[in-house]
Amino acid sequence: MSEPAATERGTIGSPADAAAAAASPTGSPGAAGEAARRVRRHDPVPLAAAIGITVAGGLILAAMNGSYLGLTVTTGVGYAVVTVGMVLQLGYAKQLAFSQSVFMGVGAYGVGVLETKYGFNSLESLLAVIALAAVASLLIGAVVTRAPGLALALATLLLPLFIYQLATYSSYLGSFSGIDGVLPFWSGPDYESTLVRTGLISVLLLGLAAGLVLRVMRSGVGLQLMAMAEDERLGESLGVSLRQRRLEVFVVGSVLAAVGGAVLASAQGLVTPDVLSESAQITLLLMLFVAGRKSVAGAIIGAIVIEYLTTSTSFISTNLGIIEGIVLLVVLLVEPDGVAGAVDRLLGRRTDRWAASLRSWSAGRFRAGGGGNGARNAA
């Protein structure tokens, strides 16, 4: 069966070959094909990432020795757990849900309430919060993920608005002042050591989160997510259960957001309604987009660096909005895959994005304006 096609190989490659070969650092197609054909059975990346993050993060926090900077980094790690979940949810699966700040609040308020009102210890409360977030996101997700893309976005944009108000009205949740006295993950003899130990646990949680997300993205399920993110009807026709995958992605994103919230509360020792607010959601989105919405490493670095910049430098924290806005626009215009995309490009791992427009033109399929959504000129 391969015989007839083999003789026609010349017509298959034709002119885009030149572009692909020029753009692709892997060199000649034949050699690249042979090399890539050796499918690796075991994927070491997720485990290596998990261990690497835990060890490197632990060493860094230990070196900071409970200083104010250490607190900032630990808080950043909390945000990073959330943004790592967002890489899977928004970046990879393209699920337009803006509910992460709400689940961050579930995590933070969850540990706060359980520890201050019901005497849970920090491990119990963390596990309880994970279970709570899983159940809550299953229930909410079962309803929410049925809605088509833009409706989901619209609905989840409203969610932070009224959950925030509910929290501020609720005396049970401490109204505007929130809940004080959240336990650290692992207390030590003094403040500094407590902070370092809590930081170590936080970094471990981040490592686990990153490993989990990488493992999912690089698995067969990840391939299914890739197909359905490109085109839901395509995914369906390949036997992907859209409902199941949407729900799973929503739950993973939400549970990681809750874990991140628990880290924040434990590091700071308190919860305020701010974690639930729109501005928290905005900060999360910035952390994700600036560093690269498809890159786990980018999301972690983005979260920690932005958290550091917003808390440590007075110039930036006073002019936060303008700077965030400008940075976001520059990133979107110049390098949509964020800093991680720029790094990839510098290292030559990314092909020229013009290859995409070339393909559109040569295949003559610039979007036929079906419905007009996203109808744009390919040039």
């Binding site: 017509t11 034709s14 002119p15 885009a16 030149a18 572009a19 020029a22 753009a23 020229d352 994005r353 013009w354 290859a355 427009s357 070339l358 033109w361 040569s362 295949a363 003559g364 399929r365 610039f366 036929a368 304006g369 079906g370 419905g371 007009g372 000129n377 040039a379």
Partner: protein
């Protein structure tokens, strides 16, 4: 067909997307009233060349219409000079009615404010495509592929072109519909319309073309004068 003064002159036109050169340097001309077909395999720059001539993508080189040089990258100037493109895959406005789709063809020269009046100016176009008369109030997106192609042609005619550029007008059409398109094209060659036709299938092209230009790897391979 007489090929007197050149209606369309294309000189050293090049198109690139980033590092990739889609059209290297193309030079040819089309005489007034002539019908020239550009043939060649897919992905060798035919569409890029013709969309560049129509001012839709950035290009290098010169395009002259009846001696007047067109500014690069301005489709509006091209339309006003009488150069109108019927693009591959038609690019209609699916949520607008057939009537509006055709009426907007006259956009660059209409001085009317109200859509109804602007329509009255171009209603005559429908005579050329009688099958569209009963579809005027239907949304263009709900039409069949063949009907959509007719709307695309009618929209181009509403612009009162002097030079018509057609990019793969029969792609994805049933054979009888393709025949209908080519019958219409044949009737247009009998007028003084200048036509530049991009066609992947040489058998179709020779039905109407006075002359064939072949593009290969972004270059015009060998301009040949073959009578149809």
């Amino acid at each position: 067909m007489s090929s007197g003064a050149a209606a369309l002159e294309v000189e050293n036109v090049s198109v690139s997307y980033g590092k990739f050169v889609a059209v290297e340097s193309v030079t040819f001309s089309v005489g007034a009233g002539e019908c020239v077909a550009v043939i060649g395999p897919n992905g060798h720059g035919k569409s890029s060349m013709v969309t560049a001539v129509a001012g839709l993508v950035r290009r290098g080189g010169t395009v002259r219409v009846f001696g007047q040089t067109l500014p690069a990258g301005s489709s509006r100037a091209a339309v006003q000079a009488g150069l109108v493109l019927v693009p591959e895959r038609r690019h209609l406005y699916p949520a607008l009615t057939t009537r509006d789709n055709i009426m907007l063809g006259s956009y660059s020269r209409t001085r009317r404010l109200r859509a109804r009046q602007a329509w009255d100016d171009v209603a005559g176009v429908i005579d050329m495509f009688p099958e569209l008369a009963r579809l005027l109030d239907q949304k263009a997106g709900t039409l069949s592929g063949g009907q959509q192609q007719m709307v695309a042609l009618a929209r181009a005619m509403a612009a009162q072109p002097k030079i018509l550029l057609l990019d793969e007008p029969c792609l994805g059409l049933a054979e009888a519909v393709a025949r209908r398109v080519y019958d219409w094209l044949g009737s247009m060659t009998a007028t003084d319309m200048t036509i530049l036709l991009v066609e992947e299938n040489p058998a179709h092209a020779v039905l109407v073309a006075d002359r064939v230009v072949r593009m290969y790897k972004g270059l015009v391979e060998r301009p040949e004068g073959s009578a149809a």
